[in-house]
Structures are given as C-alpha cells and as structure tokens.
Symmetry: C2
Subunit: 397 residues, 2 copies
C-alpha cells in the first residue's frame, strides 16, 4: 500500500545535530493550495519553534508551504537566542525555495536547553530539498526520532462518494509523553480538500481521542505539536456537516489513535502496553482523573513491569484520585477480563494463578468500574521498567 499523499513531498538530510551520519533534518513540502491546522503544547514553557510556528500559522494570508523539522535539539529553554535560531532556519528555507518565511513552520525535538545551531541546519537544507519526493514518508518517519526505537508511520484509505482519498501520518515520541492538546510531534496529511475551520475542528476532535489519551510518564513536553495538512489534490471536497466529514473524521481518528498507540508501545523502557478503561463515573473528567492517577502511579507501573497482579496498588491509586465521597465498596476491577477486586476486597472468584495468567500478557486491559454514573474514558500507557530509568539517567551522558 502506498503511503503517498498527492501534493506532499518529504526530504531528509544529515545535518550533524543529533550525531554524525544520522538523519536528523526533515523538510515536508506542501503543494500550493494546501491548508494546514496545528495544535501545540499547553506547557507554559513553549519552545521557540512552537511559538514561531504558531505565529506563522496565525498569519492567515500565507498558508504553510514547508514544515521544517530537526531532531537532536528541542530549541527549548534557549531564550532569545533560540528565537533567533528558529527564525534564521525559516529564513534560510524561505530564501532557498523563494517563499515567504511565514510559510515555513519550524519544529524541533531533542535535548532541552542547549543552543540550536542554525548554521548546521541551513547547511543541511539543500540536501533535504534535493531529497524531496512523494515516497519520503518512511525515511522522514525515521529521521524525526529521538529515544524512539521504531518509526511510526500510518496510512489509511478513505472512500468518500465512491472515490479514494488518503490520510498518512508520522509521529515521534517515547519519553516526556503526556500530551495536552497534542503530542510530541506528529505530521498528518491528506489529499482531500478541507477548508480551514473544519480542518481545525477535525484535528482537535481526533487529537482529543488519540494523542491526548496517552501517557508514558506524565511529563508534558515543551515541544508537543501535531499538524494536519489537506492538499486537496484528490479533488475530493470534505465540507462541514456532511456525511463525508463524519466518515473522514472517523478515519482520521483511527489513524491518529494508531499513531498514538505506536508511541505508547515504543514508550521509554516499555515492556507492556496498558489500556485503562474507567466506566461508571459522574463525568468524563472524573473518569479521566482516576485513569490518569492509576496510569501515573509508579507503584502500579512497577507491578505491571513485574507482571504482578498487585491490584491493591490499583485500588490505592483509585482511592487517592480525589473523587468526592467515593464509595470504595462499589468499585470493581478487571484485569484482562479477570475480576480481581470488588466490594473493597479481592473477588471471591479470584485466584493468584488467574491473576498471574492475566498479567503475563504483553497487552494489558485494566477495567475500573466506579458505579456512580454513566461517563467513561480510556487511556493508554506503559509500565515502569529498569530501562526507563536507564534511558533517562543516561540521556545526556
């Protein structure tokens, strides 16, 4: 299956930012007429490229023509020098391509707090431009990684009015993953034609159901960004309120959930993929609070790493999630389908053997029923392993 999206070309180069002889620079070229929406991190410390990309997007007369991405350095916590560097990179690409600098959106990922050399990037740009091609998705997916061990590339065909259109996306992220309105970095494109307000709505709704439902370590990055570009080159128009819009939204959400889950599965040191479903809450926010407290509990995460059905830790985490007047006796917990706790205690039908069998799997489903309302939520997370500590203790050394 081809991942190509008509109107999108990707080029990769080795600029020596991450290390020598390593893909670390990506240019995504968008054909004239392409419309792009984006979401950025809610962290108060927003990296220079995040702020600049947002400013360029807000200059609505000029729709983005180039996404410029580097790995190895996040250009975050770099003060005024960071802005100068991000600006210089956009200027250089604009000069080379004879576009306006505000038509370039910059994205950076990697270590925080180190100065980013604009010179390394501008020196690498001609090679990246030479490399531009429709089939560049796979190499680009590899070039944006940091501590990730696998590239994340997903593509889906959507049939709208009997015609095929394509949605393809790449993502990166393995640590500092607790996106808030967006994830570390993800770039999605389609050849459908979608006007700007609808494009933004589709992106927000899909991000809410995908990237905003994953967490590796509870740490929201300074550089989170996700973009959705619609080139229109398939000739298919998606309009607000239409059946196609609904259909497209479903496919987009599916693709973004796949990318989000790819990020979790490749989470730093992850040996388990854990889905936490909370049902019976008084509101989605209350369910979310419980799901995230369980997902972030180091004691739950280390027990999952050990394949230990230590449901007492799950129960303790639910109990500290801050729900008012939580009736502990009403809560029940299933682990991969096995009822492990109810009425505030171990289920009568539960045996340690069943529990161990249920937690031995690499994919875990924790179902928590609160029995106090009709709301529900789901989030995806990982365990906490020696390798998480190793990767993050050794990251800069």
């Amino acid at each position: 299956m081809s991942t190509a999206v008509a109107g999108v070309q990707l080029g990769v180069a080795q600029a020596g930012i991450k290390k020598a002889n390593h893909d670390d620079l990506v240019v995504i070229a968008l054909a004239p007429g392409t419309r792009t929406s984006a979401l950025f991190t809610q962290n108060a410390f927003r990296a220079a490229p995040v702020q600049l990309a947002e400013a360029h997007l807000a200059a609505a007369e000029v729709q983005p023509r180039y996404l410029l991405i580097n790995t190895g350095n996040a250009n975050a916590g770099t003060g005024d020098a960071g802005f100068q560097s991000a600006n210089a990179c956009c200027d250089a690409l604009a000069r080379l391509t004879e576009t306006d600098a505000s038509a370039v959106l910059p994205f950076s990922t990697g270590v925080i707090g180190e100065p980013l050399s604009a010179e390394q990037i501008t020196t690498g740009l001609p090679a990246a431009l030479d490399d531009l091609c429709d089939a560049g998705w796979e190499r680009a997916a590899g070039a944006i990684l940091t501590t990730d061990t696998r590239a994340k590339l997903r593509s889906i065909q959507v049939e709208l009015d009997g015609q095929q259109c394509t949605i393809t996306g790449i993502a990166k992220g393995a640590g500092m993953i607790c996106p808030n309105m967006a994830t570390m970095l993800a770039f999605v494109a389609t050849d459908a034609a979608i006007e700007i307000p609808l494009l933004g709505e589709l992106l927000s709704a899909a991000a809410q159901a995908s990237f905003n439902r994953i967490t590796v370590d509870g740490d929201t990055s300074t550089n989170d960004a996700v973009t959705l570009s619609a080139t229109g080159q398939s000739g298919i128009e998606v309009t607000a309120g239409s059946e196609q819009a609904e259909h497209f939204a479903q496919s987009l959400t599916t693709l973004m959930i796949e990318l989000a889950q790819d990020i979790v599965r490749d989470g730093e040191g992850a040996s388990k993929f854990v889905e936490i479903r909370v049902t019976g809450g008084e509101s989605e926010a209350a369910c979310d609070q419980v799901a995230r407290t369980v997902a972030h509990s180091p004691l739950v995460k280390t027990a999952l790493f050990a394949s230990d059905p230590n449901w007492g830790r799950i129960l303790a985490a639910i109990g500290r999630a801050g729900l008012e007047d939580l009736d502990a006796d009403a809560v029940s917990i299933h682990l991969n389908g096995v009822l492990i706790a109810e009425h505030g205690a171990r289920a009568a039908s539960y045996t340690e053997e069943k529990g161990q069998e249920a937690t031995a799997a690499g994919d875990l489903l924790i179902e928590i029923a609160l029995h106090r309302g009709d709301a529900a939520t789901v989030i995806w997370t990982t365990d906490l392993s020696y390798d998480y500590v190793r990767i993050n203790a050794e990251y800069r050394t």
Copy 2:
C-alpha cells in the same frame, strides 16, 4: 540520651506475619490519664484498622490505652473479613489487659489485599505484653518497618517553665509515600499534659509542616496514620494560647520534620535527598502545585539519580504544573546555590561543570522562584533509581 517517655511502655514480639523469626508485632501501652490524638489517610480506600482506630478514638469516653501495630500485612482491601480480623485483634488485647476493646487502636502496614490472620496476632500478644518496658522504643522502631532499611526514632527534650519534658516518636515508611494529613505510620508521645482539643491542633499543625510535605512516589497509602499521645506524667501542663504551647509546638514540629525527613532519606531506592523550595507564588497552594509536579516528575527524578543537572526537565515540569498565565521568563532556578536558569533559558553565568558539581552531592536543594507573589513552600523528596523499580517489582515475589 534517654528516649523514654514516662507513662509509655513498648513491647515487641514475633508473630510470623512478615516472616519467621522477625519482629512484626508491637504493643504500645499508655498509662491511665494519657490523651491521644490521631490523623489518618485521606485515601478513599481506608484500611480496616484505620477505620476501626478512628471509630475507637471517636468513642471519646474511653481514651486509648493500647496501640497495637503489626507489619507484614496492611489489612487493606480485605473487605468484611478485614474488619472482623482487626476487631478480633483488639478484643484479644482487651481481654488480656482487662480493658475495653475501644481503648485499643489497631494499625497495620505491609502488603495490601491479603487476609490478615487474627490468630497469628493474638498468639503473639502475650509475648509482646511480657516485653513491655520504658526502653522499648528502639526495638519497636525496628519492628514496624516494611521495605525500610533503617529504623526511624527521634527524641527531643523541651524546657517548659524551667522543667524538662520529653517528646519521642517512631515512624516507618519507604514507599507509597505521599501522605495526605498523615504519613505511613508514626507514633509520637510526650510526658507533658495536654488536653484534647489542643493536642489535636498541635498534631495537625506539625503534620502539615512535616509528613504532609514529603513524597517519595506520589502514592498516598491506604493505611497512613500518625498518633500523638500525652501522658502528663512529667507534671507539666501545656495549655492553649500559652507560651509553653508555642514552645512545645515548635519542638513537636522539629521532631516530626526529622522523622519525615528520615522517611525520605530511607525512601525506596533513594540515592538523593532532595529539598524543593518554591518562592514567589500567588498562594501556598500554587507553590505546592509546582513543588509536587517537579517532585513527581519521573524525568526530573531519573536525572537527579544520574547527578545530571538537566534543568530543562525541571523547567518543563514547572511549565505543566497548571499555573495560570505563568510568565516563563520570570522563573529562575537554583541548584544547590548555583543559578542554572533564568529568563526562560540557561543562566549566562552557568557552566556544565558548576552544574555537575552542584548535583554530585547526596543532598540537593532545588530553589524555584516564580516572581509572581509572596507565598512560598518546601517539600522533601527523592530521586528515582533502578533500586526503586527493583524493590517494587519484587515486593510480592
């Protein structure tokens, strides 16, 4: 220095709950006339002994005469059987000592969700009662431990009106440490005479400044409890609003901070003792929010473990702490006195060498100045090491 508190005797036995030939049962006998206040966990899943101890304390006619503590099993998440077991233990001790069962406060710590054998405890009680003596503090401090590696025993002499009185306390706790109104387990006693409302106020204020300011892993236990018993046997009366009350409160707070810090220093897998001071917030709650977000960030904790002055992670954690309209440029961060970040970037005066020197120490002070108000807070925490994962992955296996 003697730790003895007139009117308090402690006895220890080996009941086989934790493992064979291991101190795991403690009885603390309080002389008639002793008044006791206690604080318990705010976790919605409160263990059976926590609920029973609270009920017995509320039966205000009978002041507690015995504290009954076991380690090895938390009797939490054990449903009705857990209550029966806790009740049976209190009844047995009441029969042996010819007191009312409501004069016994039960406390349990250890694994969650396993049935607690009342028989093992009642069988061990005669030996614990035989062992009762004024000098039992040290052995009792050892007998209440779980994954702790060191006993926590502190004693302080207070001069009130030219007379000496004593405050002595023991504590345990190494994981699931993020107390909310109390810590894992701590038992403090004094020979001063203090009436009930004042005793409770003194305990609350001191807990707020000590146990409620520590966190190892953000996990609030189901069994947290701290007691303060005043035997009155020194003949010194501490009355509300008096200068003595203020003086006593200071000493009590000092002692409880020492115990709280002992718990952090012995935190699971801890290789660093980390003090986080946040100043310049609009409220203490806002400062606390920032301090806890930094303290719970796995990325900050693993960097501290690696002695890596990765201030970018501290900055990212501050940025996601949820303060409204945080001016990232106004924030400054000092690490052991070295200015590492200001104006949203690395400080001009900072060198990697200085940063590494500052983080090499076992004791770290992280100072975060928000420059948006006059409030301040402090909390104490640890790093996140391989050993934390090992201890918690292997805890039940």
